[in-house]
């Protein structure tokens, strides 16, 4: 009963199958890469797109939601965007190809992904993580470009590094493998945006050696014509610190997977997410966090504002392995539902096999506190303005934790922009 023949392919599935056939001869890669692509694509061909029957996709029935996959568009113009932070060193991937990178920073090496495909060094990391990793499988099948970023051990990079993944419609499949050497420090900004109807898969795969410290900011601002599937995976060495900040403000269908393995003692992982959901979009943030060694810590705070007919999903799972004593892991997911047509589903899981741990999660869903609203309105602030203030305060709290003034300002400006459009 476990072997099921997949039902008739949906138009999107058919487009992917056809696309693989057509594109295949033109996709870069040595024989190892070709073999890895085939294996990954077989995974997709056998199971089709996941449905809600697949537990990891319970709230995002990809088979139903991914209604169409546009064709590749070679003529599309991809416009680079203005940098988020001043003086950033920028690497641009446009329409799935590495375009240009500011490679004059000491300790920082950018290499176009095509090099790693051509010499086969990427082949081993193309394998999907597990059966649920459909994003990994699709990306491995189709990935055409991106940037590999290496930061030397001990390098303290004092300019922000910004990766721009921009497109002008069509299909985009990019990958960004990143290694951060021991003791290195960096701020990395990842921009995901573009124009026109598109199907985007994008992977970041980050390795932090011991004592490395990284602040990674993802700013996802796809137009509402884009289906965007992404995965951010990271492994943390001894005493490494990773702070991941994700802001989602766009996309028609968004699934963002964050997969983190805390593998070195003393390591710390922090996730802060602001999901600004409006229109008719479906946005899913799914996190799987593994604590595999003793004495590690993590905290996740996810704040969601859902309005219009938007649907939001947060799935978070913390796995504490048997040897991972003294783990301290906390997860919170707070949602403001602003409209009766909006909805939000959360599934914060704990899976714990060690007894000497302190783990917890909290999840709330609520509307704006009427007392707070009344308080502000009694002071002569209009209802609309009062609501805006309260919602902003709700998410700004998470942004302000970033304690980098320029970054906080830049993100709050995005926030204000979103409110102007959707408040």
């Amino acid at each position: 009963m476990n072997i099921q023949t997949p039902p008739k392919p949906t138009p999107a599935e058919q487009a992917l199958i056809d696309g693989y056939g057509e594109r295949f001869s033109r996709l870069a890669g040595n024989p190892d890469v070709v073999q890895a692509r085939d294996l990954a694509f077989d995974r997709f061909r056998q199971s089709g797109l996941p449905t809600r029957r697949v537990e990891a996709w319970h709230y995002t029935d990809l088979r139903r939601l991914l209604s169409d996959v546009p064709a590749y568009n070679q003529e599309a113009m991809a416009e680079p965007v203005g940098e988020l932070l001043e003086h950033s060193a920028i690497a641009i991937a446009a329409n799935g190809q590495a375009l240009q990178a500011d490679d004059n920073i000491d300790g920082v090496t950018w290499r176009p992904l095509t090099e790693l495909l051509a010499d086969g060094s990427l082949a081993s990391s193309l394998a999907p993580r597990d059966a649920d990793d459909m994003i990994g499988a699709l990306n491995a099948s189709f990935v055409s470009g991106g940037w590999a970023l290496d930061i030397e051990a001990g390098a303290e990079i004092d300019v922000p590094l910004e990766i721009q993944n921009v497109h002008g419609g069509g299909q985009v499949h990019t990958r960004f493998p990143v290694t951060v050497g021991a003791g290195a420090k960096a701020v990395i900004v990842e921009r995901q945006t573009g124009q026109g109807a598109a199907f985007v898969t994008s992977l970041a795969d980050v390795t932090l050696d011991e004592d490395a410290t990284v602040d990674w900011i993802v700013l996802q601002e796809q137009p509402d014509t884009v289906s965007y599937l992404s995965s951010f995976s990271a492994t943390l060495g001894r005493n490494a610190r990773l702070r991941l900040f994700v802001m989602n403000a766009g996309g028609r269908l968004v699934r963002e997977e964050v997969v983190v393995a805390v593998q070195g003692e003393g390591a710390d992982f922090q996730l802060r997410t602001v999901n600004l959901l409006a229109g008719e979009g479906h946005t899913d943030l799914t996190m799987v966090l593994d604590h595999t060694v003793p004495s590690t810590t993590s905290t996740e705070v996810v704040r969601n504002v859902v309005t219009g007919k938007a649907k939001g999903v947060f799935q978070g799972r913390i796995n504490v392995h048997q040897v991972a004593q003294k783990t301290d892991a906390r997860m919170a997911c707070n949602t403001l539902l602003m409209s009766d047509d909006a909805d939000f589903s959360a599934k914060p899981e704990l899976e714990i096999f060690a007894d000497d741990v302190a783990c917890g999660h909290g999840a709330t869903v609520a509307e704006i506190n009427h007392d707070h609203l009344f308080y502000l309105m009694a002071r002569g602030i209009s209802e609309k303005e009062a609501r805006r203030l309260l919602v902003k305060a709700f998410v700004a709290e998470v942004i302000e934790e970033l304690d980098d003034e320029a970054l906080v300002e830049a993100l709050e400006a995005r926030l204000d922009g979103w409110f102007a459009d959707n408040g």
Binding site: L337, A346, I352, D355, D356, C359, E367
Partner: protein, 506 residues
């Protein structure tokens, strides 16, 4: 703080064979041949003297069941069950429906005596008190039941053996009998409500149950009646290689109130036994049902051999406005528990509650929780779940809170705490929170920890030995749930938790 190092050691050393209900009663049984087919279903229906509509209902379910596959999403692992190897009907011979204890096989009475279930009142009334060893629980029974009285329906394998206090209940208009009897004597009520909360096609085990259920309790509390005493059912699986499929249906008509308790045990056997029950509760306008379970099926031995597979579908429907359903469960037994007592909050202002203590030790696996489905306006729900894992066990809380589009002002509070004792067990929390209405207020919190060194030190330095100190802390941990149990069960539950964790905590 690897504080309770001693405790961990003890957990390793302990023998989970603390099960005191593992005896077998040797009485003659009337047992159907193993296997499941339409003929067996006809046989069950015939044995129970059922009307044709009931047989058809069973056959419908059976045909549906044949098209279904076993669910695999729960965090439990077990070898495949051969449904054709089980026997689907077993009844004490020649005792198809005794009317008083006099007619009951003395072996059976001795069994109940050993179990300490409160048939004593009935024995006194019938003048048949049997001598026998007093168990701890007997003493509790004596103390408690001298003040409060409990009407009992005892189900032995496939049949209800005896129901007590029927006459007195009838005076109040309350119907309390076995479901077989209800099918014969109150077909209009059964036809109206059976399957209306858990439909025939609900899930694999519920559908199987619909096809082959053999007995269980039926309660109907008429309009405006407050049931004059606690009702209780006692389930026991005795025969080898049988599955127990009981079906309970409780209806509280407008403004009625009933409190119902359920307890269960099984003999110690090396092979696994299946228990797949369905419980349906219907609360009409302003009605309240309180359903409490102390589940103590045989959990298997220290190597995880034997034990009951407890795959149960329990669901309550707050059908009328202002109705309330409250589930309280203490789960200490069973090799595998798969159980999610749920509330459908259909009526406006209705309320659902779920209080649970799940204790797992040895190789037990528990995947349990609840579903609160908010459909009506101003509906509220509260979930308190306490999981304690020890030994090599795994204990999962899986719960869903869902607020539908039209459920204005729905409110939920969920708290699930897990306590781990030892390093070979697991505690898992899998909540599903779904809001489709902006006025919903949902709060969920979960924690996992171990007994704090500070607390333990505090208690021990007052001269209390460690074992007792841990028991004290654990009891504090589960207090919120114990408080929800009817008094007589609360005492029993506290004892049970002690037994379950003996050697590891209490």
């Amino acid at each position: 703080m690897p504080a309770v190092q001693e405790t961990i050691e003890q957990v390793r050393k302990i023998d989970v064979d603390q099960y005191k209900y593992g005896f077998e009663t040797l009485i003659e049984m009337d047992k159907a041949p193993p296997g499941l087919s339409e003929d067996i279903i006809r046989l069950i229906s015939h044995k129970k003297d059922e009307p044709d509509w009931m047989l058809q209902w069973r056959l419908d379910a059976f045909r549906r069941w044949q098209t279904m596959t076993e669910p695999t999403w729960a965090r439990v692992h077990y070898p495949e069950i051969d449904f054709q190897a089980l026997s689907y009907y077993a009844a004490p011979k020649a005792q198809s429906g005794p009317k008083s204890l006099d007619e009951v096989d003395p072996e059976l009475l001795a069994t109940y005596e050993k179990l300490g279930i409160p048939l004593k009142e009935q024995e006194i009334l019938a003048g048949v008190r049997k001598p026998g060893e007093k168990s701890e629980l007997d003493e509790i029974g004596d103390n408690v039941y001298s003040s409060g009285r409990v009407a009992v329906d005892a189900v032995f394998d496939s049949v209800s053996v005896v129901t007590t206090f029927k006459k007195e209940l009838a005076k109040a208009g309350v119907i309390f009998c076995s479901i077989s009897e209800a099918i014969r004597e109150h077909p209009e009520l059964v036809q109206k409500y059976l399957g209306s909360v858990v439909p025939q096609s609900d899930n694999f085990y519920a559908t199987l149950n619909s096809a082959v259920f053999t007995d269980g309790s039926f309660v109907y509390v008429p309009k405006g009646v407050r049931c004059p005493m606690e009702l209780s059912t006692y389930f026991r699986i005795n025969e080898k290689n049988t599955g127990q499929f009981e079906r309970t249906l409780i209806i509280a008509d407008e403004g009625a109130y009933v409190s119902y308790l359920e307890g269960c045990t099984a003999p110690q056997r090396d092979e696994n036994q299946l228990h797949a029950a369905v419980v349906e509760l219907v609360a009409l306008e302003d009605a309240e049902i309180k359903y409490s379970t102390v589940q103590n099926w045989y959990p298997g031995d220290k190597d995880g051999k034997g034990g009951i597979y407890n795959f149960v579908t329990k669901r309550g429907d707050c059908r009328g406005a202002n109705s309330k359903i409250s589930w309280t469960q203490v789960e200490t037994g069973s090799a595998i528990t798969w159980k999610y007592p749920s509330c459908i909050l259909r009526g406006d202002n209705s309320r659902g509650e779920f209080y649970s203590i799940a204790v797992s030790n040895g190789h037990q696996q528990i995947d349990s929780g609840t579903k609160m489905l908010h459909l009506g306006k101003n509906t509220t729900s509260r979930i308190i779940s306490k999981g304690i894992s020890a030994g090599n066990s795994n204990n999962t809380y899986r719960g869903q809170v869902s607020v539908h589009r039209k459920a204005e002002n729905a409110r939920n509070f969920t708290q699930c705490d897990s306590l781990l004792i030892g390093n070979d067990c697991g505690a898992h929390t899998v909540p599903y929170i779904e809001a489709k209405n902006a006025s919903a207020k949902l709060e969920h919190e979960a924690t996992t920890s171990k007994i704090s060194e500070d607390q333990l030190f505090y208690v021990m330095q007052r001269g209390i030995p460690e074992e007792e100190a841990i028991a004290l802390i654990v009891n504090g941990f589960v207090k919120e749930v114990i408080q929800e149990l009817p008094m007589e069960f609360a005492v029993e539950a506290q004892k049970l938790i002690g037994i379950s964790l003996e050697g590891s905590v209490g």
